[in-house]
C-alpha cells in the first residue's frame, strides 16, 4: 500500500472547509438522505473529516491500527444509526464514498505539477476511503444482523405463552411446527414459570403440533425429566396418532411420563392430584 505523504494530510487539513462544502453539496445531489436531519448530517461530515485528519496524522493507512481508533468508533456509531433508520448498505457506504470526488479534486490541484506523486497519493487516498467504506458496510451489516437476531428472539418468546390453568397448574399449548431451537426456548420459559409461580403440575399440550422429529421428541423428554428434577410433575396431552407412531417408531422411552388424550383430561388429572374435585352446582 502506498504511504500517505505528510503533505497530503496537510493539504486536507488546510482545505477542510472547502472539502466539507463540496462533499455536502455532492451528498445533496446524490439524495437519499432526507430522513437524516440536516444538522445531524452536517455534524457527521464534520466529525468524519476531523477523524480523517487525526487518523492520517502519523501517515498510517492501516485502519485497524490505534491511530484510527476514533474513526472506527465513529463509523460504528454512524452505521448503527443508519441501520436503525432503515437505510440500506449502499446509502450508508455511499455517504463515505461521496467524499472521494472532492478529495481527488483537492489532490489534483495540490500535485498539479507532479503527476507521479499525484498518482501515488491518489491511489493511497482511494484505498484508504475504500477500506473505510467497507468497514462501514461491515459494521452496518452487523447492526442489521443484531436487529434481526433480537427480533427473532422476541418472536420466539411471543409464540410461547405459558398459561395458568389453576392455582398450581400451568399449561403450555404448543402450536405449529416445532424446530429444536423453538422447543428449547419454550421449554426454558416453562421451567422458569414453574419456579416463579411455584406450580407443581405442568401440562404440555401438543394438540396443535402436526409432527415431531427425533430432536424435538428428545427435547420434550428432557424437559419432562428436568421438570421432575425441579420437583414438579409434567403431563403431556394431545398426542396425535401420527406423533404417537413417530415416538414409538423412534424407539423413545416414554416410561414414567404421563400422557393424556386431551388438555381437558390432563386438567382433570391435575385437579385430582391437587386434591380438588369438580361437581355440578344444582
Amino acid at each position: 500500500m502506498a504511504a500517505l505523504l505528510q503533505r497530503t494530510t496537510d493539504t486536507i487539513t488546510r482545505n477542510q472547509a472547502e472539502l466539507l462544502s463540496s462533499w455536502k453539496s455532492d451528498l445533496q445531489n446524490l439524495g437519499g438522505y432526507h430522513n437524516v436531519k440536516p444538522e445531524e448530517l452536517a455534524q457527521q461530515t464534520v466529525d468524519f473529516i476531523r477523524q480523517l485528519i487525526s487518523g492520517t496524522a502519523d501517515g498510517s493507512a492501516d485502519i485497524n491500527g490505534p491511530a484510527w481508533d476514533g474513526m472506527r468508533l465513529y463509523l460504528e456509531k454512524l452505521s448503527r444509526s443508519r441501520a436503525l433508520l432503515g437505510m440500506d448498505s449502499q446509502q450508508t457506504a455511499g455517504f463515505i464514498f461521496a467524499i472521494k470526488r472532492p478529495l481527488m479534486a483537492l489532490l489534483q490541484s495540490e500535485y498539479a505539477n507532479e503527476p507521479a506523486v499525484f498518482a501515488e497519493q491518489l491511489w493511497a487516498v482511494s484505498e484508504l476511503i475504500d477500506s473505510l467504506g467497507l468497514y462501514t458496510v461491515r459494521t452496518f451489516q452487523k447492526s442489521r444482523e443484531e436487529v434481526i437476531k433480537r427480533q427473532q428472539e422476541e418472536l420466539l418468546e411471543l409464540s410461547t405463552p405459558v398459561v395458568k390453568l389453576w392455582d398450581g397448574v400451568l399449561a403450555l399449548p404448543m402450536i405449529g411446527t416445532l424446530d429444536s431451537q423453538r422447543t428449547q426456548v419454550v421449554m426454558e420459559s416453562l421451567l422458569q414459570r414453574i419456579v416463579d409461580t411455584g406450580s407443581e403440575i405442568a401440562i404440555i399440550d401438543i394438540t396443535g403440533v402436526p409432527t415431531v422429529d427425533t430432536l424435538v421428541a428428545q427435547h420434550l423428554l428432557k424437559t419432562v425429566t428436568a421438570i421432575r428434577l425441579m420437583g414438579a410433575d409434567c403431563i403431556i396431552s394431545g398426542v396425535r396418532p401420527q406423533i404417537a407412531q413417530t415416538i414409538v417408531h423412534l424407539g423413545l422411552d416414554l416410561q414414567g411420563i404421563v400422557t393424556k388424550a386431551s388438555l381437558a383430561d390432563a386438567l382433570a388429572l391435575a385437579l385430582r392430584r391437587s386434591g380438588l374435585t369438580v361437581t355440578k352446582a344444582v
Binding site: 426454558e188 421451567l191 414453574i194 407443581e200 428432557k222 428436568a226 421432575r228 428434577l229 425441579m230 420437583g231
Partner: protein, 120 residues
Amino acid sequence: MDRIPILRMGEFLLVTIQVDMHDQLAMTLQDDLAERISATSAKAVLIDISALDMVDSFIGRMIGTISGLSRIMDAETVVVGMQPAVAITLVELGLELPGVSTALNVERGMQLLRARVAAQ
C-alpha cells in the same frame, strides 16, 4: 476446615448449600450427614440447593449417594429448589438422579417429608 452446617429440627435434618462447593466439601457433607442421621435417628433430610448455580457430575453423585445412604439408614431425603438452568444442564449431562425425591421449594419439601414420615 470449612463445613456446610447441618441444622436439626425435631426429626428433620436441614442442609442449605450456599457456597460454590469444591469436591472435598461435598465429601465432608456426605460423611457429616451420615454421622448426624445415625446420631440423631433423624427420619428425614431436606437439602436446599436453590442457591447453587451449577451442579456437575460430582455434586450430582453426592446428592444421589446421600439419598441412598439415608434410605438405608431409614430416613427420607428430598432435594429442593433446583434452578431450571441447573436441571436442564443435569439432564443434558446424562444425570437424571433416579430415586432422588425432589420438591419445588423448602415449604413443599417439608410437606412431602411430613407426609412420608407420617405414612410410615
